[in-house]
Chain length 300, copies 2
């Protein structure tokens, strides 16, 4: 499995055939995304959830993804240390992925790594990301259930909105709930959620759960909410819909990456570099250039 | 101009022709990107720079982009308040853009808005983003010169690395330099920069400048560094290279967005939804599906 993940990280050409063989074996694991700003306690909570699922006999995977760091691996070292107690458990797989190259690359790599953990027999896979940007939001959203963490006293309302995670949570967690401002944070979160969303009857209402992950408080309630959301997903057909949407993004992403690569190899004037030079010189507008590029792609 | 920016925000089909006409008129403005985590003082520094350039008689544009917020506009309200003193100056254009939809969309919208400000005769355009993720890094990088802001006491080394901005700065600013930890932050930054990068002779060495933006300290030094970097860009041909790379990204982005849209309209089995259903069901692997999708696109 470690070798497969390395192939993914290096975008190896070998991967294609391996993944084609793995594809029919996937779809069994329950995918839980955890996201939140640095310092809210994602890793501590992930570790607490991991302990609960292990106690229940589940095989558990953790994929820690850091889209914000151009440094490979190192940036997540702090987080991995916090999960050390599980590192020697043969039924636990912990992997971290940092950003190599472009965004599309990481979201692609995440899907592939999830497939590997899935095929490896994980019952539960937790995807942990630093939730501060659209990229993190997208990666967290590859999960079946997305848990958004906030912590008290991490900035006013404007900053909370900037976290950009108020529209994607299936479950919200106010961690470090033993702090004074916890009640106020939960209230503010509740108000912002009420503001931002219109719900139909039968829709899932994201609960707000207070935890102190470092000593396990609130973790059973979170596990319970996760189970409830899992049932809701299955009962309403939402799980199938989400997985179909995920497959759509994945297929489109692979196809677009392939087309993007071919753009550099087109003949003559339809080649991307040639077009870009003319656009930079102001001789051609980018829309007309894009048309010529697309025409070049679809005629070869 | 306000109407043009609205067309961009709404991705209006009218835009295509307008932009084709504007394209030859662009390329005159100096583009300065400013990025840094929430709370480092980007808006205060932008405002201070704005005052300097205005005093020099320049027409100035400010584009505040917030890729992390799915809320439109509102999230940047706090920042805009800080720039209020310039709001009535007819030679100053301040616009904010929040994230609507997907990433590609925002980076596309940013390029278009830059063109509009450029054609409107801005001598300097500052692009301000919340620098915490790859998206922000990409948007800040659309500038000719990228300024990365940090503030003392905003987390340890691991957190700084997470900011993910240590590879893109042409100039680094330690703002709030009157704080005790400022010296330590500058030193740490210096070490991290030395670690992360290998330079050739003739390469630009990113300076680290200490500022207290709220009272203007260090701002002349920053303006000076910006001018020096501008000269270096021009003298070494780097400016032309960066602008060509930007044109390449823009053209490829527009072409890919068009191809992505057509993926839903292909006939029969090559249609994205049909392929995604088979992938979700495990009947087809995503690579083969992507091949069929590309084949469908290039044959129609």
């Amino acid at each position: 499995m470690a070798r497969l993940i390395s192939l993914i990280e290096n975008a190896s050409p070998l991967l294609r055939d391996v993944m084609a063989q793995l594809a029919p074996l996937t779809g069994r694991a329950r995918l839980i995304g955890l996201t939140g700003a640095p310092g809210v306690g994602k890793s501590t909570l992930t570790s607490a959830l991991l302990a609960v699922y292990r106690k229940a006999g589940d095989r558990v995977g953790v994929l820690a993804v850091d889209p914000s760091s151009p440094f490979s691996g190192g940036a997540l070292l702090g987080d991995r240390v916090r999960m050390q107690e599980h590192a020697t458990d043969p039924e636990v797989f912990i992997r971290s992925m940092a950003n190599r190259g472009r965004l599309g690359g990481l979201s692609w790599a995440t899907s592939q790594a999830l497939r590997v953990l899935d095929v490896a027999g994980c019952d539960v896979i937790m995807i942990e990301t630093v939730g501060v940007g659209q990229a993190e939001v997208e990666i967290a959203s590859t999960a079946d259930t997305t848990v958004v963490l906030v912590a008290p006293g991490m900035g006013d309302g404007v900053q909370t909105a900037k976290a950009g995670v108020l529209e994607i949570g299936d479950i919200y967690v106010v961690n470090k709930a033993d702090r004074d401002e916890a009640q106020a944070t939960a209230r503010e979160l509740n108000q912002m959620l009420a503001l931002g969303q219109r719900r139909q009857p039968g829709d899932w209402r994201p609960p707000i759960i207070k935890t102190v992950a470092s000593r396990g408080d609130g973790v059973p309630e979170l596990v319970d909410a996760l189970a409830k959301h899992g049932n809701w997903l299955a009962d309403t057909g939402t799980l199938a819909r989400r997985r179909r949407a995920r497959a759509r993004d994945e297929v489109a992403g692979i196809a677009l990456a392939g087309l993007r690569e071919r753009m550099g190899d087109l003949p003559g004037e339809t080649q991307l570099d040639a077009l870009a030079d003319r656009v930079a010189a102001g001789e051609l507008d980018p829309y007309t250039a894009a048309d010529q590029l697309s025409a070049g792609l679809t005629q070869t």
